[in-house]
C-alpha cells in the first residue's frame, strides 16, 4: 500500500506492506536512524518520536496509521545549525553514555518542556518513566532536562557539526550550571 505523511516538515511518500511498523518505515525507508528499535513491546521507549505533536512509541504504531499525519524525529531537533536546548542539556549534564535511549528521551523531554516549561523533578521523572536507560541511572537525564528548562535559548553558532572538531561542544562546558 502507499502512504503519505509529513516527516520533519517535509512530505514523504512510501510503498509499504500494511503491517510495516512506523519505526521500520522511518529507519529503513527514510534512513532516519536516530530513532532506535529496542523491544517491540512498547516498554523501552528507544523508538519514541512525535506523531501530530505527541510522543508515541513507533514500534507499536503501524506506518499505515501515520498516513496523513505529521511525524517529527530526533533529526529535527536541531534547527539552522543550532542545537535544541534539550540536546545541549544532554551534552552539558552528561545525560547520555551509550546514546541508544537518548533520541527517545530527548523527544519526550522536548514535548514536556513545550507543555510545561518549568517542570519539577517529579514531573520530569514521570514524563520519562516509560523509557529505559541502562547507563545513567536517570540522574543526569533529569539534570539535562532541568538544564534545558533553565536555558530556553542557546546562543547561535554554538555547536559544531559532528564531522568538525566535535570538541567545540565540550568548550561550552564552561557555561555549565553547577553539577551537584
Amino acid at each position: 500500500m502507499q502512504v503519505t505523511m509529513t516527516v520533519n516538515g517535509r512530505p514523504v511518500h512510501g510503498e509499504i506492506e500494511p503491517r510495516m511498523l512506523l519505526v521500520h518505515f522511518v529507519r529503513d525507508q527514510l534512513g532516519l536512524t536516530g530513532t532506535h528499535w529496542g523491544c517491540d513491546t512498547s516498554n523501552c521507549g528507544t523508538c519514541v518520536l512525535w506523531m501530530d505533536g505527541e510522543p508515541v512509541k513507533s514500534c507499536t504504531v503501524l506506518a499505515a496509521m501515520a498516513h496523513g499525519h505529521e511525524i517529527r524525529t530526533v533529526e529535527d531537533l536541531e534547527r539552522d545549525g543550532e542545537l535544541d536546548p534539550v540536546q545541549q542539556g544532554f551534552v552539558e549534564q552528561h545525560g547520555l553514555q551509550c546514546g541508544f535511549c537518548t533520541p527517545g528521551m530527548m523527544m519526550t523531554a522536548r514535548w514536556l518542556l513545550d507543555h510545561n516549561p518549568h517542570p519539577s523533578e517529579a514531573e520530569i521523572r514521570e514524563a520519562i518513566s516509560g523509557q529505559i536507560c541502562r547507563c545513567t541511572g536517570y540522574a543526569n537525564i533529569v539534570r539535562a532536562i532541568q538544564w534545558a528548562a533553565e536555558h530556553p535559548r542557546v546562543e547561535p553558532a554554538a555547536v559544531p557539526e559532528p564531522a568538525a572538531a566535535a570538541g567545540q561542544a565540550a568548550e561550552r562546558s564552561g557555561e555549565e550550571v553547577g553539577v551537584r
Partner: protein
C-alpha cells in the same frame, strides 16, 4: 568587582569536560550496527527452540525455501558438513551454532533464514517444520546433580551427569580450625538469582564476505573486536588477515557483548552462501532468552567471629548454574571468575571457598552484567554475611564493618585466597559515606519511625573490586594473553591520533583517552583523535569488559605517550643544541634547565621531527610510539555505599529514598564520566535488589522474555544519587588509575538488600524484593527465587 575563577572549559589533561562523542549522539547520528545498510544487503532471522530440552527428529525447510523472498535456509546438518555446527566456548566447552541432535534450552538456535527483508525472514521462520521428541528439563541447579537426573550434555563422550567443574581457593584446614575455635558462627544460604544485562541495543551483526578479495568485514555488537577476529579465524578457518571486525557505536554492553553468539557466525555463513552482505539483528525476546545471562549462584556462607565482633574466618560453598553450555567469558584459569575475592574488605585469619558448576536447561553464559568476573557475587556474599553477623551479635553493621576493615598500613595486602590488594584507605571511605549520609542521625530517625510503625531501613555495603585483567602469566582467554596495545602518533602540525585495542559501549573513550594523552603531552584533547573498534586500524588487545580499559589500555596509552615525550626530548635537544639531560618538561614543552625562555613546544618538535632537522644517531624521524602493556597486577578500587529505604507496611513496596556512594578509583581522568558510570551501577543495584529476575517454570519455560516480564529500573525507582570520593592511587599503574566501570554494580545490590531487610527486621531473604517478596518475608515465608515457578 570580584571574579570567580572557573575551571577551563577543556582541561589540558584530566578534569571535567563534556564528551566529544556526544556531538553525533544528540543529533541522532550515532552509527549502530542496525544503522548499517550496504548495497544488496539481505536480512537473517533465527528459528529458536520452543522447548528447553528435546531431541530433534526432523527439520523440513522446503516450504521456507519456496518463499519468494527467501535466499537461503541453513540448518545444523548443513553446518555439520562444513564442520561449523559447533564452535568453541570461551571456557573450554563447545556451543552449537545450530542445534543438530538436541535442543538444550528454550530459545536455542535451530535454523537460520536469509531473505530480502527482515519481515520476510521472520515470515519464513514460521514455514520451517521441526519435530521434537520432548525430554525432561533440568531447571533447578541442585536437581541437576541428583542421581538419575537427565543428562543434558550427552554430546560429550562418556558424560553421565551434569557436572562441569569443582574449584576451590583458600586454605581448608586453617579455615576449619578457625571455625572450630570461633565464639560465634553464623550460617546462611543465599541465592544471587539469574539476571540479565539487557543493554538497550540488542546483539546483531552485518557480515560482508567479498568473494573477490576473500575478505570478510564484520560489523558487530562486540566489546572485544580483536579477540573476535582471532576466534573467527580459529572457528571458521578464515585467514586472520582476511577478517576485519568493526565495532561501531554500541548501545550498551555490560558484558552481554563479550562472547560470540551463533547469530554472528550465521550472518557470516549467510553472506558466504548468498554472496551478499547479511544483517542479523535479534529482537528483545531473543536477547533476554538466549544471550549471556549473569549470576545464578546458589551460595552457602558461614562466618566466624569473636563474641565482641572480630571476624576470624569465612567459608563458602557455591553451586553455579552455567546453563546448557559452559560459555562464561573469563580468564581461563578461573572457572569461578574472581569469586575468590569473597573475603572482601576485611582482615581475616582464614578463608576457604568451593565452587561447583553444573549444566541446566537454560541459556549459557554467566559472566555478564558489569560483574568484574563474579566479584559481584563475592561482594554480595560477604556483605550479607557481615550483616547477618551484626544481627546475631546485636551490633550496628557500620560499627562491625569499621572494626574489621583492613587498615591503610596493611597495603599492599595479600588476602587469604591470594589476591594482592594494591592500595586502599577503607576506614576513611566508610567514614565519609557515613558523614554524607548523616548515619547516626538516620539511625535516630529510624528508631523514631519504628515507634510509629513505619518501616525505614538503612543498608551498608563496603566493597573491594579487582579489575584490570590481567597479568599475562596468570590470565588469558582461550590462550590469548590479556595485554593491550596502544599507538600514539603526533602529526607534523602538532595534532595527534591515538589508536586503542579497546572500544567503547558508552564509556566515553573518545574523550577520556584523549585526556590521557593530553595529560602526558600537553596537546589539547580537542586536537587528539581516538581511533578504536576496528581491527584493521588498531593494535591488538582483548577489549572492554571487567573494568579493564583504564587499568590496561589506559596504561598502554600513558606509556606510549610518555615514550613520545621521551623522543620529543631528543628531537628538542637537536633543535636547541643542548644535551637531552639539560632539558626539563613542562606540560606541552621541553625547555632548557635554568633558562625557561629557551625551549620547544610539542608542536614545534613534531614539525621538526618530520622535517629536515638532523637527528642524533639512532633516532628515527617522526614523533610516535607504541606500547603493549602487560599489567603487573590488577587494580583494586573500593567504596562504601549506604542506601536508605522506606517500606510500605501495607503493600511491601520499597522506595529507595537515598543512596550515598563513596568511590575510590584513584585519580579520575574525567570526574563527570566517572560519576555517570557510578550512577548507572547504582541503578543496576536497585534493579537487581528490587526487580530483576529471570525465572523459569517447571516445564523450563523462560518467564522473563520481554521487558513486560523482565523488569528493569525506570526513572521512578531511582533516586538522585549522592556521591563522594576518596583518592588512593594505584602504586603500579603508570598514572595511579584504577578501573571503576563496574564498581557500583558490584557494590550496590547488598546495600539495597541490607536496607530492605533492616527495614522489615528479617535476617535474610533472597532478591529481588518485589512487593510480594517483601510482604512474604515479613510474614516469615519468603519466596524461593532459586526454584522453578509452579
Amino acid at each position: 568587582m570580584t571574579t570567580v575563577e572557573e575551571a577551563p572549559a577543556v582541561p589540558m589533561g584530566f578534569g571535567r569536560m563534556t564528551r566529544k562523542e556526544d556531538a553525533r549522539f544528540v543529533r541522532g547520528r550515532g552509527n549502530y550496527v542496525d544503522d548499517i545498510v550496504l548495497p544488496g544487503m539481505l536480512h537473517g532471522a533465527v528459528l529458536r527452540a520452543s522447548l528447553p530440552h528435546a531431541r530433534i527428529t526432523r527439520i523440513d525447510t522446503s516450504a521456507a525455501e519456496a518463499h519468494p523472498k527467501v535466499r537461503a535456509v541453513i540448518t545444523g546438518s548443513m553446518l555439520e558438513g562444513l564442520n561449523l555446527a559447533w564452535m568453541p566456548s570461551l571456557s573450554h566447552d563447545v556451543v552449537p551454532v545450530l542445534a543438530t541432535d538436541k535442543v538444550r534450552f528454550q530459545g536455542q538456535e535451530v535454523a537460520f533464514v536469509v531473505a530480502d527483508d527482515r519481515y520476510a525472514a521472520r515470515d519464513a521462520l514460521e514455514l520451517i517444520e521441526v519435530d521434537y521428541e520432548p525430554l525432561p528439563p533440568v531447571i533447578d541447579a541442585r536437581q541437576a546433580m541428583a542421581p538419575g537426573a537427565p543428562v543434558i550434555r550427552d554430546d560429550i563422550d562418556g558424560k553421565s551427569d551434569n557436572h562441569i567443574f569443582d574449584w576451590e581457593a583458600g586454605d581448608r584446614a586453617s579455615t576449619d580450625a578457625a571455625f572450630a575455635a570461633a565464639e560465634v558462627v553464623v550460617a546462611q544460604d543465599m541465592v544471587y538469582p539469574r539476571v540479565h544485562p539487557a543493554p538497550m541495543e540488542t546483539c546483531g551483526a552485518v557480515a560482508d564476505m567479498d568473494k573477490v578479495s576473500g575478505k570478510l568485514t564484520m560489523w558487530s555488537t562486540t566489546q572485544a573486536p580483536h579477540a573476535h577476529r582471532t576466534l573467527y579465524a580459529l572457528v571458521a578457518g578464515l585467514p586472520e588477515h582476511k577478517i576485519r571486525v568493526v565495532s561501531p557505536d554500541i548501545g550498551g554492553g555490560f558484558g552481554n557483548k563479550v562472547g560470540i553468539y551463533p547469530g554472528y557466525v550465521l550472518a557470516i555463513v549467510g553472506s558466504i552462501v548468498t554472496g551478499k552482505p547479511v544483517k542479523w539483528m535479534e529482537d528483545r525476546s531473543e536477547n533476554l532468552m538466549s544471550t549471556s545471562f549473569a549470576r545464578d549462584y546458589h551460595m552457602h556462607g558461614e562466618i566466624a567471629a569473636t563474641a565482641d565482633g572480630k571476624i576470624t574466618a569465612l567459608r563458602v560453598k557455591v553451586l553455579a548454574d552455567h546453563g546448557a553450555f559452559n560459555n562464561t567469558a573469563q580468564p581461563t584459569k578461573f572457572p569461578a571468575g574472581f569469586f575468590h575475592i569473597f573475603t572482601g574488605s576485611y582482615d581475616l585469619q582464614a578463608a576457604h571457598c568451593e565452587v561447583s558448576g553444573v549444566y541446566t536447561n537454560k541459556a549459557p553464559g554467566g559472566v555478564a552484567y558489569a560483574c568484574s568476573f563474579r566479584v559481584t557475587e563475592a561482594v554480595y556474599l560477604v556483605e550479607r554475611m557481615v550483616d547477618c553477623l551484626a544481627d546475631e551479635l546485636g551490633m550496628d553493621p557500620a560499627e562491625l564493618r569499621m572494626r574489621n576493615l583492613l587498615r591503610p598500613e596493611q597495603f599492599p595486602y595479600t588476602c587469604k585466597t591470594g589476591w594482592v590488594y594494591d592500595s586502599g584507605d577503607y576506614p576513611r571511605a566508610l567514614r565519609l559515606a557515613m558523614d554524607i549520609a548523616g548515619y547516626e542521625e538516620l539511625r535516630r530517625e529510624q528508631a523514631e519511625r519504628r515507634q510509629r510503625g513505619e518501616l525505614m531501613g538503612i543498608g551498608l555495603s563496603f566493597f573491594t573490586e579487582t579489575v584490570g585483567a590481567g597479568p599475562r602469566k596468570h590470565m588469558d582467554i582461550l590462550g590469548l594473553g590479556m595485554a593491550d596495545g596502544a599507538e600514539v602518533r603526533v602529526h607534523p602540525t602538532g595534532k595527534a591520533v591515538v589508536r586503542l585495542s579497546v572500544q567503547t559501549q558508552g564509556q566515553g573513550h573518545e574523550t577520556t583517552f584523549a585526556q590521557i594523552v593530553a595529560e602526558q603531552l600537553g596537546i589539547s584533547p580537542q586536537d587528539i583523535d581516538v581511533v578504536h573498534g576496528d581491527t584493521d586500524n588498531t593494535p591488538f588487545g582483548l577489549g572492554t569488559y571487567g573494568s579493564r580499559s583504564t587499568p590496561v589500555s589506559g596504561a598502554a596509552v600513558a606509556v606510549a605517550a610518555q615514550r613520545v615525550r621521551d623522543k620529543a626530548r631528543i628531537v628538542a635537544s637537536a633543535m636547541l643544541e643542548v644535551a637531552p639531560e639539560d632539558l626539563e618538561w613542562e606540560k606541552g614543552r621541553w625547555f632548557v634547565r635554568g633558562d625557561p625562555s629557551v625551549g620547544a613546544a610539542i608542536g614545534e618538535i613534531a614539525m621538526a621531527a618530520h622535517g629536515s632537522l638532523e637527528l642524533p644517531e639512532g633516532v628515527e624521524g617522526h614523533l610516535d610510539a607504541e606500547c603493549v602493556y602487560d599489567p603487573p597486577n590488577l587494580t583494586y578500587p573500593f567504596g562504601a555505599y549506604i542506601c536508605v529505604v522506606d517500606v510500605d507496611p501495607g503493600t511491601g513496596q520499597v522506595k529507595v529514598r537515598r543512596f550515598v556512594a563513596v568511590d575510590d578509583c584513584g585519580p579520575r581522568i574525567n570526574p563527570m564520566i566517572v560519576e555517570g558510570q557510578v550512577h548507572g551501577g547504582l541503578a543496576d543495584g536497585v534493579g537487581m535488589a528490587l526487580m530483576e529476575v529471570m525465572a523459569f517454570d517447571t516445564e523450563g519455560n523462560h518467564l522473563g522474555g520481554s521487558f513486560m516480564d523482565y523488569l528493569v529500573p525506570t526513572s521512578l525507582e531511582c533516586p538522585m544519587f549522592e556521591l563522594g570520593e576518596t583518592v588512593t592511587p594505584s602504586p603500579h599503574h603508570p598514572l595511579g588509575l584504577k578501573g571503576v566501570g563496574e564498581s557500583a554494580t558490584v557494590g550496590s545490590p547488598p546495600a539495597v538488600v541490607n536496607a530492605v531487610l533492616d527495614a522489615i527486621g528479617v535476617r535474610h531473604a533472597d532478591m529481588p524484593f518485589t512487593p510480594a517478596q517483601v510482604w512474604r518475608s515479613m510474614q516469615g515465608r519468603p519466596l524461593r527465587t532459586d526454584l522453578a515457578v509452579e
